[in-house]
């Protein structure tokens, strides 16, 4: 695979993003910062506390990162989507949104973005671009060739 080096970088960045989230969750478990009530878009559950979400999303990111070694596009999508979900969760904290963002979500976001960039480079190298001129392709389509 041409983009294996980039895939490896994407995988490492994805795992680091997950490690940041899990580490943040473990720290938050002892530091007990104010994350607001455990809910997400009106769904209330003890599993939606700041600590649970950080660690849960961290695990998803680690899995996404590991998948990136073999399938960088799938891994990159998982890692970036997880980070995005985490940020939406932080935004959903209302008046308490700044603290989780500032101390806990910046690391997962940054490394998820880096993972996405490397996964993108891997996809660029792995997916062969079309060399057929689009007009020719359209002509072929319309003539049923």
């Amino acid at each position: 695979m041409k983009g294996q080096k980039m895939a490896n970088y994407a995988a490492i960045a994805g795992v680091v993003a997950g490690a940041f989230a899990i580490g943040g969750g473990l720290y938050a478990h002892s530091a007990k910062p104010i994350f607001g009530i455990p809910q997400f878009f009106g769904i209330y559950s003890q599993y939606l506390s700041g600590v649970h979400v950080l660690m849960g999303i961290g695990v998803v990111m680690v899995v996404g990162g590991l998948l990136s070694f073999k399938w960088p596009s799938i891994g990159g999508i998982i890692v970036c989507s997880a980070a995005m979900l985490g940020l939406i969760y932080a935004y959903n904290r209302g008046q308490y949104r700044w603290s989780p963002m500032l101390y806990y979500w910046w690391g997962p976001w940054l490394f998820a973005w880096i993972a996405g960039i490397f996964a993108g480079y891997a996809a660029y190298k792995n997916v062969p671009q079309s060399n057929e001129k689009l007009a020719d392709a359209r002509h072929a389509e319309s003539s049923g060739a």
Binding site: S73, A83, Y91, G116, G120, Y124, V127, Q129, S130
Partner: protein, 474 residues
Amino acid sequence: MTEMLRNEGLKRVRMRLITAVVFVFTLTCSGSFGMEDVVSSSGPGMTLLMILILPLVWSVPMAFVASELGSMVPEAGGLYRWIRRGMGEYWSFQAGWWWTLSLYVDSAVYVALALDYMEAKWGFGGGTRALIGIAIVAVFTFINIRGLELTGWSLTIIQIGVMVPLLVFTVWGIIVGSGNPFSPILPDGESVLTSMNLGLAIMMWMYSGWESLSTLAGEIENPQKVIPKALLIGTPLVIATYFFTVFAAIRVASIDGPGNWANMWTGGGGVDFVEAAQMIGGGVLAYLMLMSAILSNLGLYAGYLATGARPQFQMSRDRLLPKFLGLTHKSWGTPWAAILLMAIVNAVLINFNFSALITIDVFLLMFPYVLIFLTVIVLRVKEPDAPRSFRVPMPTALLGVWVAFPIAIAIIALFVNGTDWMIGGLAGILTGPIAYLVFKNIYTGTTDEALEGSTLTPTGELTEFGAVVEGAGA
């Protein structure tokens, strides 16, 4: 010369310089509505100084850089194709995606603002508001699909409607107003930095849009000459418009007392341009000013509907977005599917509370700006001899120093807009890699050699199509 394809189905129109200037003026200014908030938050003196100084490190570099890149790569999609040329497919997709996403939300804001002005004056209900909003979107969608000629005429008429009341107000206000608009420089107890916080964000917003006209390059004859000229004429015009109108507004506000500038804000209850017009010209001038404010927002909508749709069209033609976005109208030669999709999203958004989405807006726009500034330097180094009919008159190293200022300002802006903006924006940024990974795997992208509408070969020489574009207006 290498044979490369023109963008099939796109029609090129002869755009007069004056029309191109109107486009630039609409996309970067369209009146001064919104500046009132800068005066009350940053102080009158600081506002006027920012109007004069900020362009030197923010909008003038962008206007010059857009001119150079637009003259070198005069292709449909504008900034998206510039960045592709300089930094490759991945980053060009990111810039095109972020910019488009931002404009999907941004253009809806202008319709919502126009509706707010109308509702404040005529007080209609939610159903009427929705119908008027959809009607506005439908009218400008038709105008845009009909072609750039009609869009240009519409913008010209709209800008006459915007500027005549503003000009009357400005001259009258400077004559009958009172006080020194530069005094005080800052609000009491504020430092330069704290006073600039909100003001800088609004001002950067007011001074944005210089890259937008370039997205229409694939549909204008001789774009590499017309667009840079329009940008260079438009820049001082925009600065002068902001300066004199705000100067007059502060003097008018001061009629009710020297500290009345602190009550200048938009959104009701404050001294905005409409209220200031009422103070000196009574109901007639206030009514004309209200019309000016409504038209200003409608003009911005028409302009951004036109330019916002083009990068996604070109990305589709480059096999990076769904095929239907690359469709063109058989008779009018416009990318109707891309325009229509944007209009449908706008029509939906204006009927919902989309304040959470607005938070991603500025953030998503700043990243493409940074990429544009980096691209001009990369292309100076990578392709120093590629044909450019306009070149920023400074050596590459000095240009690098100059563009470092707007890059720094863009980065600062990411942090000064508040928590909502930052979190929303960071989440929005992540949609870029996700979208690329999805669409790249589905549609594969196109090699540089097979790109439609490319004016330069991958080695920096004019293609046959590029030569036709170069000679189009000759």
